[in-house]
């Protein structure tokens, strides 16, 4: 099927099979491999991307469902500088080790900070509870998100 969508600001037209997941389309057709695939059934959060302004599971949306939609991936958020401070805080706090979960974790963390500029640690944990990290133990990730929230509040 023919689909046309916006990915990281660029219009993309492609022919896809209905069974192709949005995240596979991004990774294989567009070679945007920043979004990862862990479980392929919605549990791990590694495939988290933005569709029409809201975070979604890239493995639980078909590419054909995104026809006419606006997709933003970790590549888009990195290039635009939208999350440069969050990324710097992740590095400073050692909030990543293997990095497999990191793109999804950053997407979820930025989503929280957009909706709640001054989250408590409890609220941070709650919001990233759908994103699994098998390396860090989460503490450093919560630190990094909290630090970024405070920096942004001070910069206001």
């Amino acid at each position: 099927m023919n689909i046309t969508l916006t990915v990281n600001g660029e219009t993309v037209t492609a022919d896809v099979l209905p069974r192709t997941h949005l995240v596979d389309f991004l990774r294989e057709h567009l070679e945007l491999t920043g979004s990862h695939l862990g479980c392929e059934h919605g549990v791990c959060g590694a495939c988290t991307i933005r569709l029409d302004g809201a975070i979604v599971r890239g493995c639980l949306v078909l590419a054909v469902q995104a026809d006419g939609g606006v997709v933003e991936t970790i590549e888009g958020l990195s290039d635009s500088g939208e999350i440069a401070d969050l990324q710097a805080a992740f590095i400073a706090r050692n909030a990543l080790q293997c990095g497999f979960c990191t793109p999804g974790m950053l997407m979820a963390a930025q989503d929280l900070l957009l909706h709640n500029a001054t989250p408590t640690r409890e609220e941070i944990r709650e919001h990233i509870s759908g994103n699994y990290c098998r390396c860090t133990g989460y503490q450093a990730i919560v630190d990094a998100v909290e630090t970024t929230a405070k920096q942004r509040a001070r910069a206001q």
Binding site: H21, E40, H41, G45, L62, D67, A108
Partner: protein, 286 residues
């Protein structure tokens, strides 16, 4: 895993969707938010020939009120339910429950119609629909049909929906003075399906709890009303007598999360917590 091959069609109106469903019958699956259907396809638990995407149907959208009821369109996403002022005003138990459903990246797509039609025994919304005495609105080529939530959930992932019917909306009576609600669930991690959960709705009249409905989930094969326990509580029989009666009301099951005895115990823990939250005076009496 990846899903097996299927066709996809995006319906533009309710009549078109009904027509497609009538034409393809059992070979078709309706696709709303996809947050239960796509995992099932990916795991190859389901292999339809065609998906009929109903997520763009204008007739299934929106939250509104009439003189007597709150109407929630089937396509209302979990995040919209969570943020809707009309829902918080007239059905606050839904507002409280929805935060326990999955995670933000799933609540952004999942719909109330999909959750009710899916009838997962561990899902929050079917139990809320029972507690709220909700009415389920369905459309088929024969016209509209409305049935009580009590008659809608028929078994494990089974509902009263006929193969050619689409769930279009949920209706709930407007809130009345004295309405009280409570909600509780026990889960291992935030966002996980509960080990046991309870959605409760009632009214305080002359200092007494009345019209109480206790909707349990994740205990037995479907969302279940604990009618005996509710009758004991409204007759002034006290929380402990009601907790004892849960043994008659519920049919707890064993699974990897908990055995039946643990589930019944936890159902009683939730009853004490939720009821004493709704009626602090009952806690003192217990």
């Amino acid at each position: 895993m990846k899903a097996s091959a299927f066709d996809y069609v995006r319906a533009k109106s309710l009549p078109e969707a009904l027509d497609l469903l009538a034409r393809h019958g059992e070979a078709a699956k309706l696709l709303a938010g996809g947050q239960s259907l796509l995992p099932a396809l990916n795991l190859r638990l389901s292999a339809p020939e065609i998906l009929i995407d109903i997520s763009h149907l204008p007739e299934l959208r929106g939250i509104s009120t009439t003189a007597t009821s709150l109407r929630i369109g089937a396509l209302t996403r979990h995040v919209e339910l969570q943020n809707a002022a009309l829902v918080a005003e007239h059905a606050p138990v839904l507002t409280q429950a929805i935060g326990h459903v999955a995670h933000a990246a799933i609540r952004s797509r999942g719909t109330i119609g999909g959750s009710l039609a899916n009838a997962d025994p561990a899902a929050e919304l079917p139990a809320c629909a029972l507690a709220l005495h909700a009415r389920i609105v369905m459309q088929s080529p024969r016209g509209e049909r409305v049935i009580a939530a009590d008659d809608f959930f028929t078994g494990l992932f089974a509902t009263a929906l006929l193969p050619d019917e689409i769930l279009t909306a949920v209706e709930i009576n407007l809130a009345q003075p004295g309405d009280v609600h409570g909600f509780g669930e026990l889960a291992r991690r935030s966002g996980d399906y509960a080990i046991v959960g309870l959605a409760a709705q009632g009214r305080v009249q002359n200092g007494k709890l009345a019209a109480l409905r206790l909707g349990y989930f994740s205990i037995g094969t479907k969302a279940t009303l604990a009618t005996k326990a509710a009758a004991i509580l409204t007759a002034g029989g006290g929380i402990e007598a009601a907790a004892a009666a849960l043994a008659d009301d519920l049919e707890p099951h064993d699974d990897l999360q908990a055995d039946a005895a643990t589930r019944l115990h936890l159902a009683r823990v939730l009853l004490r917590r939720v009821i004493s939250g709704m009626m602090p005076s009952l806690k003192a009496a217990a």
